[in-house]
């Protein structure tokens, strides 16, 4: 499953109100770069939880961990591996 592809698509279609003019790189800072705000973050987390069937714990979510597509992919992969091991 291409985590980055899906998250990028979601971000551009739902959270980037500037439209298709924006091109998101794997390391473009999303939160600290002013592209999404805390409300956007809540929507993004909800999308990721629903789409990938994972549940975030308190303290897993902050701007340092989820600021770029690369970081999002790494956290989601980690959660998926944990979930696979636990089952």
């Amino acid at each position: 499953m291409e985590i980055k592809v899906e998250v990028r698509k979601y971000l551009i279609e739902n959270l980037m109100t500037d439209g298709p003019a924006i091109s998101l790189g794997d390391t473009t800072p999303l939160i600290t770069g002013g592209l999404i705000d805390s409300i956007g973050m809540i929507s993004l987390v909800r999308f990721i939880e629903g789409r990938f069937g994972i549940v975030f714990a308190p303290r897993e979510i902050d701007a340092q961990r989820l600021d770029t597509l690369d970081e999002i992919e790494s956290l989601v992969s980690k959660k998926l591996t944990q979930a696979a091991r636990a089952s």
Binding site: T17, D18, G33, G34, S38, I42, P58, R59, I61, D62
Partner: protein, 498 residues
């Protein structure tokens, strides 16, 4: 009224620590700090401040999230005879430096490379937090009066840089004493506000704890991202009194299960900072009927000056009133403009180091000094005021106050931007959003990402525009003034997908 007895904020802690030393003063994610320990730590850190050169009347910058340590630093500043200046660590570096410079902070408490420490602003001198805690505590009676500054809160300034609102011990005390009395807060209560230290809302739980011997429950800032974590924390920490902006309460209701057994101990829920839609308040009240719901109103400059207790079965087809004056406040309406004028004990001394702006902010009427809130209100038959709108271009977003002019000033500082205009618009579910229209220099046109990045480097994130729209010309009216109404309409139309 003469100076009320005992309104020095740190003396409340002294008294409570003497009377109930073992009671829990601070609870943060399972970690407890007793009043005795809080007093001791505050005294030790005060001693470190003094050693680094802090003198009575100085400012101490607190570049910290709200934590046990930052509450210790708040009281340490006051014990050292200084006022504290909260600055959010997530602010861009240049804004943090500018704020510390502007208030002339003698020292700043901040984390640097994972280590918490106290640093002199000018010149060398650093004491690590752990080292500061090992100093012998200084708990000395400092000759201070109720009129001495206790806090300086930075708020958005329309000319392009934030300005510091100076609140005295007496001003903070007036508000905190009133909440304690009106909502009957006592040592059995667990009070919480998820607002950062730089919000006047944070005076409620920190000083309510010291005055009443209640427990201040620190809400970890990362939880504010997720309503269900907040509700879980509220329930597990057995919070009894809550004070936040409406959007956080609404989030906890809609996405966090607040109404489904999420708040068994909650008895008082206060909200302030932005308009709370009546139907949402009605839902919350119907779901949690035993909780006292109250709308508190007041700009940072006056703290809370009016309030409205939501009555059972109120008419949710009408906007929720901001209510009547608190007993310590003087409130009146300018009959010509409808502007609410507010004064009294909780009002600021002035803006730090800005005499002209301070003079412009106040108006004298019948020998009383009123702050011009810039808020237009109506007055109903029951004497309750209701907020209608702003007289200027200030907007509120999730309780954060934003001057659109400050965003424009920051945009115009980018070398590739020739002209900029910012408007706020209603984006539906996502609440108030900000669109920035920019005209670019033809040769060095930056990308939208670059412009947004520039904003994020100069402004707190809540002020960064949601949309940046590149335009060939910014529409002007007949006198050359920017036509904000048409820009707002353009933003609203494209938000609806037209």
């Amino acid at each position: 009224m003469s100076e009320p007895e005992g309104c020095l904020l740190h003396e409340w802690l002294l008294r409570t620590a003497r009377e109930s030393p073992d009671a829990v003063a601070i609870l943060e994610d399972g970690r407890q700090t007793s009043f005795r320990e809080l007093l001791k730590q505050a005294g030790s850190v005060a001693s470190a401040f003094i050693e680094l050169g802090v003198r009575q009347g100085d400012r101490v910058g607190l570049v910290l999230p709200k934590t046990t340590e930052s509450i210790v630093a708040v009281f340490a500043s006051l014990f050292a005879g200084a006022s504290y200046v909260p600055i959010h660590p997530r602010w861009p570096g240049e804004r943090i430096a500018a704020a510390l410079e502007d208030c002339g902070a003698a020292v700043a408490v901040a984390e640097s490379e994972g280590v918490l420490g106290v640093r002199r602003r000018n010149g060398d001198g650093t004491v690590e937090w752990k080292q500061a805690l090992s100093q012998s505590p200084v708990i000395r009676p400092v000759a201070q009066s109720a009129a001495d500054p206790a806090i300086i809160l930075f708020t958005s300034g329309s000319t392009g840089s934030p300005k510091g609102v100076v609140l005295s011990h007496g001003a903070v005390s007036a508000f905190v004493r009133w909440t304690a009395q009106e909502f009957q807060i006592d040592s059995g209560d667990r009070v919480a506000s998820p607002s950062p230290l730089g919000f006047d809302l944070s005076t409620f739980d920190i000083f309510g704890m010291a005055l009443c011997g209640a427990t201040c429950v620190v809400v970890p800032e990362s939880f504010v991202w997720m309503p269900r974590f907040l509700v879980q924390y509220l329930r597990d920490s057995r919070i009894t009194c809550w004070y936040s902006v409406p959007s956080i309460l609404a989030g906890m209701y809609q996405d966090g299960g607040l109404a489904d057994g999420g708040a068994p101990d909650l008895r008082v829920a206060l909200f302030a900072g932005e308009v709370f839609s009546s139907p949402k308040v009605a839902l919350l009240q119907a779901a949690l009927p035993n909780v006292v719901w109250a709308n508190l109103y007041g700009p940072t400059e006056t703290n809370v000056v009016t309030w409205y207790r939501v009555p059972p079965g109120f008419d949710s087809s009408e906007p929720l009133p901001i209510g009547k004056a608190c007993p310590y406040a003087e409130v009146t309406m300018d009959t010509e403009t409808g502007e609410l004028l507010a004064g009294g004990a909780s009002t600021m001394s002035g803006y730090w180091n800005r005499l002209e702006e301070t003079a412009r902010a106040f108006i004298d009427l019948d020998g009383k000094r009123y702050y011009r809130t810039g808020d237009r209100v109506s007055s109903g038959p029951s004497g309750d005021y209701t907020f209608i709108g702003r007289l200027d271009r200030q907007v509120k977003r999730r309780g954060f106050r934003i001057e659109l002019g400050e965003i424009e000033a920051v945009l115009a500082r980018h070398p590739g931007v020739v002209e900029a205009a910012a408007v706020a618009y209603d984006s539906g579910d996502r609440g108030t959003a900000i669109a920035a229209f920019v005209r670019l220099a033809p040769r060095e046109a930056p990308s939208i990402i670059e412009i947004k990045g520039h904003c994020a480097r100069s402004l707190p994130l809540y002020m960064a525009p949601d949309r940046v729209v590149i335009v060939e010309n910014i529409p002007k009216g007949n006198r050359g003034k920017i036509d904000y109404a048409s820009l707002k309409k353009a933003a609203e139309d494209s938000n609806r997908g037209d």
